[in-house]
Amino acid sequence: MQAILRHLRLVRLFWSTSLAAEMEYRLNFVVASINSVGTLAGGIFGLFLFYRTGYRPGGWRWEEALVVMGLFTLLEGFTRTLLTPNLGRIVAHVQTGTLDFVLLKPISSQFWLSMRNFSPWGLPDVALGLGVIAYSAWRLGVAPAAIAAGLVPVALSVVTLYSLWFILGTTTIWFVKTYNVTEVLRGLLEAGMYPLAAYPAGYRIFFTFVVPVAFLTTVPAEIVLGREGQSMLFVAAAVAMGLLAFSIAFWRFALRYYTSASS
């Protein structure tokens, strides 16, 4: 309990300092907001191109597919607020040797590397994603209780996304310049904008077992919309927890190979 409180206090300290730093660039907020609205509009327009001829990708209704789009936007916001500003910097720490200082701190290095920075520029995405989900859930007549219960699968997909990023970030210890790898991952994750059932069989296998995009947006949407039973929730939980545990173990393993750059 004491430990949790200590970590929470640290998070508050971390985030308030990085928020203060980001406030230097207030105009960025306008840029980020326009960007988020534009990206979402582009995504919805892309979806509309499928539906305008009466085709239903994977048998999903328009509003159901919008829930997936909303979840994708929400996760994109999470990526911009916490993943890129933190995990995107592991490369720099390894390259310049400042990871030494992180390792010396009396706190879990994974926690520090994952939580040190907070960038508010992803918040417009979070708000828009929630808005789209709420709108489509209302149009579909989803019960409020079901939406509230949807928080669990969404939280699981956040954990899954974080773990994927951290595992990739960890490979920096060996390859040093893996900045682009996270970009490739981001490119692949864009597949999560659309329901998995809309893809051909080969894609579905790839996006379930190789890069688990399915568990990021499609699975939570299916659970919220009642397309899948509660048993799917256990699968999602197993995937999320498994990947998280692996990311922790993998980081510890990788640190044994860290030789530091500076000295």
Partner: protein, 269 residues
């Protein structure tokens, strides 16, 4: 006459030096270039969606048509990728531009040579990628006509110059504001709408498609893809529009460059 010859040989020497230096530099980073090439995967993701849609008979295209189209879009993006704004912003903010200005050559050639050399390092990657693609998607296999390939190559060369001119013009704003690369993001918003990266423009509402052909966007994806796959495209209109935009941005760029230099304070130098 001799003056002209010495000038020409000087130009040739500068060009070959810059290109070989940049080629060596880019080869050093070939693993990264491979990853950057893979970043442009979005067309292949959408290809899957559209192939699936075609399989259910929802469009006039066949799955093979879509596979060919998005393959061509992927290639077109490889040849028109430009990042001069990031390099230029860095050079201005970091003060590295100042020594370049002392040299008797416009810095633009340096950036241009970097881009050209990088194209060359990408070439073997693209051959490997194409082989893998046609092995994975046999329905996409086709042999483009020689005339189509040449026309597409010409369109891509122009498109690259146009993209470079546009981005280099925006980059000039770095003389006045610090984070110009943020502006670059707006480009992508419109790009995804109007370029044909997410779907062939033929599937758009006709009014949107016709309007898009007057913007620069379709010339980086839809237009070259149509040419390469031998599908109908407004060829004459396309080249006229491209040349028009190129001329426009060339003028904008030179004006901004002159004004910007006057106001440049050579920070960090």
């Amino acid at each position: 006459m001799t003056r002209i010859i010495t000038r020409l040989s000087r130009t040739r020497r500068i060009a070959s030096t810059l290109l070989s230096v940049w080629y060596a530099y880019m080869l050093e980073y070939r693993a990264e270039i491979f990853l950057w090439a893979m970043v442009g995967l979005l067309p292949l993701i959408l290809m899957g969606l559209w192939m699936q849609a075609a399989a259910s008979g929802a469009t006039a295209f066949s799955p093979g048509d879509f596979a060919r189209y998005f393959f061509a879009v992927f290639l077109a993006r490889q040849f028109t990728a430009v990042w001069v704004i990031y390099d230029f912003e860095y050079d201005v903010v970091d003060g590295r531009l100042s020594p370049y200005l002392l040299q008797p050559i416009d810095p633009v050639w340096r950036y241009m040579a970097g881009h050209a050399a990088e194209r060359l390092t990408r070439l073997p990657l693209l051959v490997g990628f194409s082989l893998a693609f046609f092995w994975l998607f046999p329905e996409a296999r086709w042999l483009p006509a020689v005339g189509d390939v040449l026309l597409c190559a010409l369109a891509l060369a122009l498109a690259f110059l146009l993209r470079f001119a546009i981005q280099y013009s925006v980059a000039m704003l770095a003389f006045w504001i610090e984070r110009v690369s943020e502006i670059e993001k707006f480009w992508f918003l419109l790009f995804f709408f109007f370029s044909g990266t997410i779907a062939p423009l033929d599937l758009y509402p006709p009014a949107v498609r016709d309007a898009a052909m007057y913007t620069p966007f379709p010339y980086f994806a839809y237009f070259p893809a149509q040419l390469l796959t031998g599908r109908p495209a407004p060829i004459a209109l396309g080249f006229v529009v491209m040349l028009g935009w190129l001329a426009f941005f060339f003028v904008v760029n030179r004006v901004l460059w002159r004004r910007g230099l006057k106001q440049h304070s050579g920070m960090g130098a």
